[in-house]
């Protein structure tokens, strides 16, 4: 562990639980989300979705819908420019979606037509009047069906494709055969991981307003304004600069709001056609029935150990059920492979990952995309091996744990790792040694670990601009304006980024105004909120801008006090001064005022940028952590009660402890849902549970006691040593709970989620 403390962190703003800057507005109901907005003359949009999983569109008759009084526009695919889009711009053949279906529909819920009317009821009625004739095609609803010989081709229009595999990813490290030959124990298991919903509380919404001169403004519930701007412009056939995207408050995203979506396009397209603002708000039923979801993945993992627990090799094969379109599936395919090799040192590793089209609703990015599945498998196999080898599961992990400086050849290098310390700490906090050895009947204790990226390096969006950017304007009243496309979707980046800027300029958080995000005001570009990238990447862009501000103000103070060139200029407590002679200084406001005067009226505005360069293929920095779950199982009902979760995690320097705790506790909620209660019930491509009554996310009563400890490392690439805390924490709960369930019942879950029924079958309490 690199635990050198940056001297700057001794100051006041970093490491403090600054309350969220947006919290008062949210607590009083004043915060505006997209669905809350209205404009004069606004029309209400509704979508017609496909009721069949795979079909050719023979004819669409919109005449009845169009003639319904109050309907102002009805559009189908043929009315649009028919330009495909997708997040993986670097590989155009992966851009496989049309805003509205053209020739074919590929899943139940595929968008076929859209209506704009003077009120939502009329729009809905009109949608019901559109008549579509389909020629139904054979459909496939699992990876196995999609890969079977003679399976129907879901994207027969993409020439590069021979079957239903849209993209694959191979990793080969070391001599696999030779390594397995040295193994004393080889595990070979197949796991079935299921799809779950982001279940953000705010359903997706968009409001488009036509502007003068053929331009357009879009307010949308997104994590990635820049991506929406670019892809909307390309699908409309407009220059990027004609499209302005503004992100209002966003009610959660978790990866589910990081693409251009059909309603964004339809709102914009119909706004331009009608000359009136158009708004869409999705229903929860639409969200659950047709929305993006975490990938269901089938993973076969073969892993070899020496008798003493030393890992020797791993052969990891993953088949991702991508549903009808790529969405962020290619990234999930990559990450699943990268994370199959993380946490422990594998002298030989092979990954074969396949992203497979099916006629299910498309999966996309969801908190950890690819990593929760890969690590559920890795961690469960570590627990199986510990049992087989009669080694304590934590000791087995300690023996193989990655440390600072470790690398996966050609994939990644670990610049800071507090994994060993996390394992030791979680063992100590949970009383592992004593408790685990003597669990009472029907109680169990289990462990799961994780690692995650602090933003991605691979430029799949093919942005020509920096990965992160910001503008900082310093004013003569001592205030500062930070403008960035980095997007707060509830995780708190508006607060964290202000803390980083405040620390860097030595001013208070209250003196910083933030604009995030508005693509016409904020510099190009920032890829937005995904992959736990904002703190590290935008934080670094802010440090770059702050350095430029400080260079300018240092000149002023240096000149005013005729400071010897060897003096360091400090920025703290709202002042700019000679570090060793603090009396030689002026207020930040005065310094800015003097700079403006000295520069004949120019304003002090700078831009900061960050792009990870020469950082491998994956990420500049990894988080690590370990979690222990304690559970009780009712032997008669099979119901699992999670009693306590203990976590030790390394997110580098903690910038805001309260925010990190919030990420941890929210992750546990999501992890518990993943392992115990959440599952899409599907029949022939149709999602049957489409309300929160039967799609069960954990409630306040389902939450366990939570204890945690941050293992602070110093990440050299991170701002003030910080790295991610947003997604990795969502990984360990599932394997930890599953391990605890095994210890309590003997049921080893290789097919998530764990249900009372599965437990009772395993314990012989329930017969076929």
């Amino acid at each position: 562990m690199t635990n050198k403390q940056n001297p700057d962190t001794q100051q006041n703003v970093i490491g403090r639980s600054v309350p969220r800057v947006d919290a008062p507005h949210k607590a009083t109901g004043k915060a505006l989300y997209t669905a809350d907005m209205k404009l004069p003359g606004m029309l209400y949009g509704k979508l017609l979705r496909s009721p069949v999983p795979h079909a050719r569109i023979l004819n669409i008759d919109v005449s009845k819908a169009s003639s319904l009084p109050g309907v102002k526009d009805v559009i189908i695919g043929k009315d649009t420019p028919g330009i495909k889009y997708g997040n993986w711009r670097l590989f155009p053949q992966t851009q496989d979606e049309f805003p509205l279906a053209m020739e074919k529909v590929r899943f139940i819920g595929d968008e076929v037509a859209a209506v704009a009317a003077i009120d939502p009821d009329i729009a809905e009625e009109a949608v019901g009047l559109i008549r579509v004739d389909y020629e139904e095609l054979p459909a496939v609803f699992s990876v196995d069906e999609a890969l079977a010989p003679g399976a129907p081709l879901i994207h027969d229009e993409i020439e590069e494709l021979e079957g239903n595999i849209s993209i694959d990813r191979n990793i080969d490290v070391g001599d696999l055969e030779a390594a397995f030959a040295r193994a004393d124990l080889v595990l070979d298991d197949t796991f079935t991981l299921h799809a779950v919903s982001h279940a953000y509380l705010e359903p997706c919404a968009v409001l488009a307003q036509p502007d003068t001169e053929d331009r357009l403004t879009l307010w949308t519930s997104t994590q990635t304004p820049y991506i929406v701007q670019c892809l909307l412009a390309s699908t409309l056939g407009l220059p990027e600069n004609h499209v302005r995207v503004i992100k209002p408050h966003v009610g959660g995203g978790f990866g589910g709001k990081m693409e251009l979506r059909p309603w964004d396009f339809c709102a914009a397209f119909m706004a331009r056609r009608t000359g009136r603002p158009v708004k869409f708000v999705l229903s929860r039923t639409e969200e659950l029935a047709t929305g993006r979801r975490r990938h269901a993945i089938k993973i076969r993992s073969k892993v070899g150990f020496k008798k003493d627990g030393t890992l020797v090799a791993k052969d990891f094969e993953a088949y991702l059920d991508g549903g009808a379109y790529n969405s962020m599936g290619p990234t999930a395919t990559f990450l699943c492979g990268n994370f199959g090799a993380m946490l422990y040192r594998y002298p030989a590793y092979r990954y074969r990952g396949y992203h497979v089209y099916t006629n299910n609703p498309p999966a996309g990015a969801m908190r950890g995309f690819g990593a929760p599945q890969a690590m559920y498998v890795s961690e469960t196999q570590m627990n199986i091996a510990a049992k087989e080898l009669d080694i304590d599961p934590i000791d087995l992990r300690l023996k193989n744990a990655m440390v600072t400086g470790d690398a996966i050849e050609g994939v990644t290098k670990i610049s800071s790792a507090g994994f060993v310390e996390s394992l030791q700490k979680v063992a100590e906090m949970s009383g592992w040694k004593e408790k685990h050895a003597a669990m009472p009947p029907n109680k169990g204790m289990g462990i799961g670990c994780y690692s995650f990226i602090s933003g991605g390096v691979f430029n799949w969006f093919n942005t020509p601009y920096h990965f992160s950017a910001c503008e900082v304007r310093a004013y003569d009243d001592g205030t500062v304006h930070l403008l960035t496309m980095a997007s707060d979707i509830g995780q708190g980046s508006d607060t964290i980024l202000r803390q980083i800027l405040a620390q860097s300029l030595g001013i208070s958080v209250e003196n910083i105004r933030i604009t995030s995000a508005d693509t016409t005001m904020t510099p190009k570009a920032d890829l937005g909120t995904w992959g736990s990238r904002v703190t590290l990447m935008n934080g670094n862009a802010i440090l770059d801008a702050a350095r430029k501000i400080k260079e300018n103000l240092a000149q002023i103070v240096s000149l005013k006090f005729n400071l010897n060139v060897i003096h360091e200029i400090a920025f703290a407590d709202g002042r700019v001064f000679a570090k060793l002679k603090p009396e030689r200084g002026i207020s930040f406001a005065e310094a800015v005022a003097m700079w403006v005067t000295a520069n004949r009226g120019r304003e002090l505005t700078v831009r900061g940028y960050y792009t990870p360069r020469d950082k491998g293929l994956t990420t500049p920095a990894y988080s690590f952590g370990a979690q222990v779950a304690e559970i009780a199982v009712d032997p008669d009902t099979g119901i699992v009660t999670v009693e306590k979760i203990t976590t030790a995690h390394d997110c580098g320097t903690v910038i805001n402890p309260m925010a990190v705790e919030g990420q941890l506790e929210g992750s546990i909620q999501m992890g518990l849902g993943y392992v115990l209660s959440e599952k899409f019930v599907m029949r022939d491509g149709k999602t049957l549970n489409t309300t929160f009554l039967d799609y069960k996310i954990p409630s306040a009563e389902d939450m366990p006691q939570i204890e945690s400890c941050a293992i602070e490392t110093y990440e050299p690439e991170g701002p003030y040593g910080a790295k991610e805390a947003g997604e990795g924490l969502a990984i360990p709960t599932a394997p930890a709970v599953a391990h605890a369930v095994f210890e309590a019942t003997g049921y080893r879950c290789k097919e998530l989620p764990i249900t009372p029924e599965k437990i009772l079958r395993a314990t012989g309490k329930l017969m076929e």
Partner: protein
């Protein structure tokens, strides 16, 4: 079907309006009265984001017809702090305890907490969890919210004038 004239007393203001009989209270609050603090998360009464108080009792306003509230007293999140910009102790506690992330569940969560604290000024942790179990949150994991309700209970107790 023709509109129905109703009178709603919302946050101390009286609104005489005509609404279609099938409009939900949530819709009318948001669309007709522009009280957008009341959020719609599911429209099936499962998530609690639309919680308001009707005559002091918590109700999911997406399942309640506006005409059912004719003549009744309604409190939405906008009406919680009665004196200008002063925050209600529950709002203060939610901000201080980190109980707000994306904020979409917050108005409903705060009103459910108010309904609880009005009935049980010093609830146990399990009473709080039970009282909030109809309000879903996907960001916080609820623990900071529970902490906030406990803190709010203490704040309210301190603010009350001493008896005898």
């Amino acid at each position: 079907m023709s509109k129905v004239n109703i009178t709603l007393h919302v946050n101390g203001d009286t609104y005489s309006i005509a609404v279609e009989p099938w409009r939900t209270l949530a819709e009318v609050l948001r669309e007709d009265l522009n009280l957008i603090g009341t959020k719609i998360g599911c429209e099936t009464g499962d998530c609690g984001a639309c919680t308001v108080l009707i005559n002091g009792k918590s109700v999911t306003s997406c399942l309640s017809l506006a005409i059912e509230s004719d003549g009744k007293e309604i409190t939405t999140i906008e009406g919680l702090s009665t004196q200008g910009d002063t925050l209600h102790p529950i709002q203060e506690a939610f901000i201080e305890e980190g109980a707000i992330q994306c904020g979409y569940c917050t108005p409903g969560m705060i009103l459910s907490a108010k309904y609880l604290l009005d009935r049980i000024p010093e609830p146990t942790e399990s009473q709080i969890r039970q009282a909030l179990s109809g309000n879903l949150c996907r960001c916080t994991g609820y623990n900071s919210i529970v902490k906030a309700v406990i803190a709010a209970s203490k704040k309210i107790k301190l603010k009350k004038p001493l008896q005898n």
